[in-house]
């Protein structure tokens, strides 16, 4: 258990800058999720923390101690890999004991810890098996067990659930959360799945193009995104985006001519081009709504329905609880929750507050 501090960590391969000046600090026991599309640099950042790659610039400190130049084995960090990386020639218990053996932990102590970990993860019955005799979920547990057995100061997870089927993924997600709550080990978790990010992280860092776009708690990220990329990346269905023009500091006009109140003044001057973002659940069908259009698609999912509507050349999505009676081509009027509109600069994508 420890704090981790990254200072201005950069990584380039030749002329390609994979990571640019990443600085962040993890508090003791924190669960940080690194999220972003593929190629955003999240795996490289993870490898740098693990010691598998060296940063081009910058430094890392674990519990206040500089670890930038330490080999992976010398850092007290454990990692769970996407493919689980179980050694196929060793049994489950040998796999779990391997990092201990490398650290010259005595046999008796090794056996004891293997037993503890196996009990914690309920894999005692698997200890004698080889990895290829295990199911995906079982392999996942063993991989976590191997990382746990080391009693590391820091846990790294590299997309650990992406090889599991949907149902198992949900179970394992809860399992990982429970495990973290129980052990309290500082954790970095890489994923490209925003649901995993939202449900697991105490904070989330959204990465794109080697730059941290925003570092915040899940809910802040959702309700108060720093830019259009974050707003778009987090949330499903995706946030609605409408072209708009500022009328005054607290009023905008859509391309269709409809004017909408913002509820509070923003840093905009009249005539400025904007992108208006509004989450699907902040729109509702309302006969008194100021937006009018026609229903194009209705997608019921059971608990709720996604209704898509054409409002004068732009399409918006509404998230409506329960059953809906609407059909395509029905006329619809839409209202938005007050204060739910987010403004972005169309050029830079930056949030305008």
């Amino acid at each position: 258990m420890a704090t981790l501090e990254l200072r201005n960590v950069s990584k380039s391969f030749g002329a390609t800058k994979v990571l640019q000046e990443i600085s962040l600090t993890l508090a003791d026991g924190e669960f940080l999720v690194l999220v972003g599309p593929s190629g955003c640099g999240k795996s490289t950042l993870m490898n740098i923390v693990a010691g598998l790659e060296e940063p081009t610039n910058g430094s890392l400190a674990l519990e206040g101690k500089d670890i930038t130049r330490l080999a992976p084995a010398q850092r007290n960090i454990a990692m769970v890999f996407q493919s689980y990386a179980l050694y196929p020639n060793m049994t489950v218990s040998e796999n779990i004991a391997f990092p201990l053996e490398m650290r010259k932990v005595a046999k008796g102590e090794r056996d004891k810890r293997v037993a503890e970990v196996a009990a914690l993860l309920q894999i005692e019955h698997l200890l004698g098996r080889k990895p290829k005799q295990l199911s995906g979920g079982q392999r996942q547990r063993v991989a976590i067990g191997r990382a746990l057995a080391r009693e590391p100061q820091l846990f790294l997870f590299d997309e650990p659930l992406s090889n599991l089927d949907a149902k198992l993924r949900v179970d394992m997600r809860a399992e990982i959360k429970r495990l973290h709550q129980r052990t309290g080990v500082t954790t970095i978790y890489v994923t490209h799945d925003q649901v995993e990010a939202m449900t697991l992280g105490s904070r989330i860092a959204v990465l794109k193009g080697g730059v941290i776009q925003q570092l915040a708690t899940p809910l802040d990220l959702y309700t108060d995104p720093a830019n259009l990329f974050v707003a778009e990346f987090i949330g499903s269905p995706s946030i609605n985006q409408l072209e708009a023009t500022a009328v005054s500091a607290d009023r905008v006009r859509l391309a269709s001519g409809t004017e909408l109140p913002l509820g509070r003044p923003h840093a905009i001057e009249a005539g400025r081009k904007l992108v208006l973002g509004v989450r699907p659940e902040h729109l509702r069908e309302d006969a008194a709504g100021s937006l009018s259009g026609r229903v194009t698609i209705v997608e019921p999912t059971g608990a709720e329905a996604y209704v898509k509507a054409d409002i004068g050349g732009a399409e918006v999505c509404l998230r409506i609880p329960g059953r809906v009676a609407m059909k395509p081509d029905d006329p619809i009027r839409i209202a938005h929750s007050p204060g739910s509109l987010l403004l972005f600069d169309p050029e830079s994508g930056m949030r305008i507050r």
């Binding site: 693990a50 598998l52 992976p72 990692m79 493919s83 196929p88 391997f98």
Partner: protein, 286 residues
């Protein structure tokens, strides 16, 4: 499926396949049956016929009394030479290939591609191009005309193949396993011994079989760098068959050829799958 025309073509297909199969078996069949006949039966009879009088005499002669060069020693001492050549040459070249493949794939270093390209091309060179200087080198090292000299030569010119095999295998080795082991604390040798090598059984088998077959069957180096005491079996067999003196004992030649064929044939029958994989790996580069 199942129409009349289909059946006819199916029968024709099997007919052709069986005919070709027999054609392919013919030489080894001829070798076999005629090594078990008395000489008269070959001269007067039919090479394809089974022996009328079965005899192991030709095998005994080929093994222990046939004239090889000047001595009536039979093939026995040369069979032994080939074993003394093949076992160390295969083990050494395989071990070197494994280490090279490990280093070339798991460690970034400048010039690794050039090293690999040089090894790769060395697999194709005609050995005539190295015969003269190698003969001089063996002479200077005092290895001319010895089995050790042949071990050395076969190791040197086998490294290209063995490195190629292991490099390609380890290039496809799951990177996460290696990274995981490094995080768990495994160093250079431990990573190799505990993680890579235990998961290399297929390529080790392929390489050993490939090297065994190649070196056992090798002729040019044997003919160039050995003398009558250190001939490998292929050279001794060629001397037996092509020595122009005396009566041609065809049955003894066939027995001798069969003796030389048995080790690689046994390996092929027991592990043909790996032999084919070696052939394929040797032909599809990179």
């Amino acid at each position: 499926m199942g129409s009349g025309a289909d059946k006819v073509s199916r029968v024709a297909l099997y007919g052709i396949l069986i005919f070709l199969g027999l054609l392919f078996v013919l030489p080894i069949y001829v070798m076999g049956v005629n090594s078990l006949k008395p000489l008269d039966e070959i001269r007067g009879g039919n090479l394809m016929a089974l022996p009328m009088e079965w005899t192991l005499e030709p095998w005994a002669t080929a093994w222990s009394t046939a004239q090889i060069g000047v001595q009536p020693t039979g093939l026995k001492p040369y069979f032994l030479n080939s074993f003394l050549l093949v076992v160390p040459a295969v083990l050494i070249s395989t071990a070197i290939g494994a280490i090279n493949g490990y280093i070339l794939t798991q460690f970034k270093m400048r010039g690794a591609n050039i090293v690999f390209a040089m090894l790769l091309f060395s697999v194709f060179i005609p050995f005539q191009i190295v015969l003269i200087p190698m003969a001089r080198t063996l002479g200077m090292l005092g290895l001319a005309g010895t089995v050790s000299g042949l071990v050395f030569v076969n190791v040197v010119y086998g490294i290209g193949f063995t490195t190629l095999f292991f490099r390609n295998y380890y290039a496809a080795f799951p990177g996460e396993l290696v990274r995981s082991a490094r995080m768990d604390g495994a160093g250079f040798f431990r990573l190799f011994w505990r993680i890579l090598l235990p998961n290399s059984a297929p390529i080790v088998v392929v390489t050993i079989i490939w090297q065994f077959t190649n070196i056992w069957n090798e002729f040019l180096f044997g003919a160039s760098f050995s003398d009558y005491k250190s001939f490998p079996l292929t050279v001794a067999l060629n001397n037996l068959v092509n020595s122009s003196t005396g009566v041609k004992e065809y049955n003894v030649h066939f027995a001798g050829a069969f003796i030389a064929a048995i080790p690689t044939l046994v390996v092929y029958v027991l592990s043909g799958k790996y032999f084919v994989r070696g052939l394929m790996a040797g032909s599809v580069k990179g």
